[in-house]
Point group: C2
Chain length 101, copies 2
């Protein structure tokens, strides 16, 4: 299974909508960069069941983004924040704070 690390950004935005188990499996695969077998073995699971679980979380994250488009919006707002900072406009810093909290 190829690891698409662009998903990590979506995970940061939407992890609150996932279950604890979904967060764990995502973190193991994408953040701690474990293999499917390494995740499966300690729990007595099969590689295939972990594969399915990772795929399910991935689809959830893509679904959330397709509906809420937060990654897209936050990126554009981040660019505006940078432009405002370049103009020494204090609203730029405020926008960054709102996006980061």
């Amino acid at each position: 299974m190829e690891k698409d690390f662009g998903l990590v950004k979506l995970f940061e935005l939407y992890k609150g909508l996932l279950t604890e188990k979904q967060r764990q499996i995502f973190s193991s695969f994408y953040l701690y960069d474990l293999s499917l077998s390494e995740i499966a073995e300690p729990e007595g699971n099969t590689r295939q069941s972990v594969y399915n679980a990772v795929k399910q979380v991935k689809n959830k994250l893509l679904e959330y983004e397709s509906v809420l488009k937060l990654s897209q919006k936050y990126q554009k707002l981040g660019e505006i924040a940078e432009e405002l900072k370049n103009e020494s406009n204090p609203q730029g810093e405020k926008i960054t704070e709102i996006l980061d909290n």
Copy 2:
């Protein structure tokens, strides 16, 4: 059941995360302002079952907001957009566009 129309704002933000049935029941109660009985009768449902369904959607919306805080963030960003427009800074309009899309 008291109708809290502040929920309508949350509905606009998060409706994409609801099921079609949840969207319908929310719209009937909050947007078309029907009573529980008026929603229940044509479908042969009980007033109680509609009450439970409305409550479930309401809880979902509050849960999404507690996790993602979009209503809160968009309000603050909207205020910044207004301030920028008052300064005749074109970034204000851009922020409004991003929030509305």
